[in-house]
Symmetry: C2
Subunit: 405 residues, 2 copies
């Protein structure tokens, strides 16, 4: 059963093999969780109230909640049960009469943040990205630091400024050096950048002292979103030593409104890249990469197509590393890949790489060029994965427009 | 009115000029918020139900809530009103008959985490600490990096592992280099450390794009707690470049159970240290340091007495910096000072400084020595501030005992 009775004139990426989850507001009704199907949202709160999920979960409050937090916490058995029932409801024409009145066009809903972000961790798992930044910032040294091939480098970001696609991005102010060795000045960033990333959302929490092995990834992770980790390169360059990025990142991180469930990404699994040296045992196990194709559009011009499949450290290794010290997980923890860059110039996931630190501006369709982002610019990050029978599964896009403050 | 009708045989630090807030559990009753007074907790949920706070707040749900989140969000006018009424109730003998039956001995309650920690930011604001670490880690360079005197360096920590005093601390495992240039190994940290800090708790949130000037500190900050930011120095040393500390810190951060309100710290205000160079304008304004005295006890031996008064960057500057890029605040944001170290060897707030990276172990009362923490060790971080009339205001202690995993 791969086709919905809901036919759409063209592929939306939201077919029956995807069924991503989000939160929607429609009319006067308070926020409720929903599944995207074709050009529509299928509101699960309304569906549960109509009895369409009776007997599927011990606690139907999970489906009538104002966001996905309770579904995330409910765990894999509940995730499978809801997905199986939704597949039935949206796949079998016998349910069309009951389901159709509940559907709402996607362009008629707004999408609040789909879940409460607990901790936000950003990794640095693309070797090509790390090497590019090493070459730009430390031209006289080896592009990778010695620790990089031994563990997935990462750090904590600001979870309070993780926002949903469409939220306006205010150009941050901050301290920067106008020239090497000069005195710092304060003002709007002159080097506002994007980072095209994929983030994974934790459902099932752990206790302090508990670890999550590479093999246990799917017991805890609910699904994936696209992430644009906006970055002010001048602020970041001045502040980041010795404790890492702070205000150059903390002003905003945008995520896509729909979480693609891990089950929908089964067809996208690929072997992880060969790792040399072989990682220590706590980073080994049964794991895989995901063959996701990303796309970065700047004011309508596609400026990059980063491939996620070649990511050096896999999401399961990131999670195993993050918990290897005994740090607990909470429902709603979000961990992102770091900028995804491929080996080709057109596959780089940030402007600092695409323009080589501003030296080689990108040209847009209107003839203008960009080293970094200008006020009024709109960035759209999209992504897709292989679905069944040669189709594609879509991620919801992450859009953001730059405003001056 | 500085004395309570509740006389105590010896000063507890919890006099009428303090009135710190926490969350207590007593008997079968669910968690409720409380004020510490002498050797007792004054449960505000029960007091509100008994009508003792009638008319004080438009929304009495603030006082019957299971933790301090709603009081934090209620803002300065509400904070003043509750404090004024509590001062009356606990200060005037005419209320003794009504209040006494509600009081519970502090040793008969347990203290859950007093509030929901939103984002946790750790600064690096003690010049002596930063210089000590610079000398230890980069002996051939200037002890301070060029940015340090221009802005309060900080980074985001893991808010999900901020725990209340008394929570067992599991020795973290992680990757470390057994010797410089050797291959990394994985296992329990061999260099488990403490960091004696003071943290400030945000009550009133802001919008994205809004900043909080140095002058607006008290409009947003509710009060202060003591913080022990446990650190695994070997894990930290191997992982921290280029994105900062991660697993060397994220396993646990302990805070005191009672939040001392900003109003109670009025007597502790001191002029901030002279700053050279003069900071950029967004870090200037009407601000002050706090003359807090910290104490670190390891298995009953006092190993350090860090002074908070000399902190180079003040809490108001930290907050102004943290929001200067437009990052929003949430109720429950916690920002800590970083390790507090004074100029004297006995004033260093971490073992790595006290033992100069383990080379000069500290000797405990039982004759044993420590370079870093051993399993079974108990650390107690205490603190006090000048109160009225020569008395001292006490912070609740932060205790933690090390367990192997």
């Amino acid at each position: 059963m791969t086709d919905s009775w809901l036919t759409t004139p063209e592929p939306t990426g939201f077919g029956l093999d995807n069924l991503p989850y989000g939160t929607v507001v429609h009319g006067d009704r308070p926020p409720q969780i929903a599944i995207a199907i074709g050009g529509h949202a299928f509101p699960l709160g309304a569906a549960a109230e109509a009895g369409l999920f009776d007997g599927v979960l011990p606690d139907t409050g999970v489906l009538t909640a104002p966001n996905l937090d309770r579904l995330l916490a409910a765990g894999p058995a509940a995730w499978r049960a809801v997905r199986a029932r939704a597949t039935e409801l949206l796949g079998s024409r016998s349910h069309a009469e009951a389901v159709r009145p509940l559907l709402v066009r996607l362009d008629a809903v707004s999408n609040p943040l789909p879940f409460t972000v607990a901790d936000y961790v950003d990794f640095y798992s693309s070797r090509e990205h790390a090497e590019n930044l090493g070459r730009i910032f430390r031209p006289d040294s080896a592009p990778l630091l010695p620790n990089w091939t031994h563990l997935p480098i990462g750090y904590h970001g600001r979870s309070g400024t993780v926002v949903v696609s469409g939220t306006p991005i205010m150009r941050p102010h901050g301290q920067r050096l106008p020239a090497p060795g000069a005195e710092p000045v304060f003002g709007p960033t002159t080097r506002l950048d994007i980072e095209a990333e994929v983030g994974f959302v934790v459902g099932v929490p752990t206790r302090m002292g508990q670890t999550v092995s590479v093999d246990e990834f799917a017991d805890h992770v609910f699904g994936a979103v696209l992430v644009n980790d906006w970055s002010a390169r001048d602020i970041q360059a001045w502040e980041y030593q010795p404790l890492g990025p702070f205000l150059g990142k903390s002003f905003a991180t945008s995520i896509s409104p729909w979480i693609v469930p891990l089950e929908a990404l089964a067809e996208a699994r690929v072997a992880p890249p060969r790792q040399d040296p072989v990682p220590l045992p706590h980073l080994l196990g049964d794991h895989w990469g995901y063959d996701l194709s990303l796309r970065v559009d700047l004011n309508g011009t596609t400026v990059s197509r980063p491939p996620f499949a070649g990511l050096y450290w896999t999401p399961a290794q990131q999670l195993a590393h993050m918990t290897s010290n005994g740090a607990s997980l909470r429902t709603g923890d979000l961990f992102a890949s770091g900028t995804v860059s491929g080996p080709q110039p057109g596959q780089r996931g940030s402007l600092i790489e695409l323009t080589w630190n501003g030296a080689e501006p990108v040209r847009l369709a209107d003839g203008s060029t960009r080293g970094f982002l200008a006020d009024g610019d709109t960035v759209v990050l999209g992504g897709s994965a292989p679905g069944r029978d040669g189709t594609r599964i879509g991620f919801g896009a992450v859009t953001g427009t730059i405003h001056s403050r």
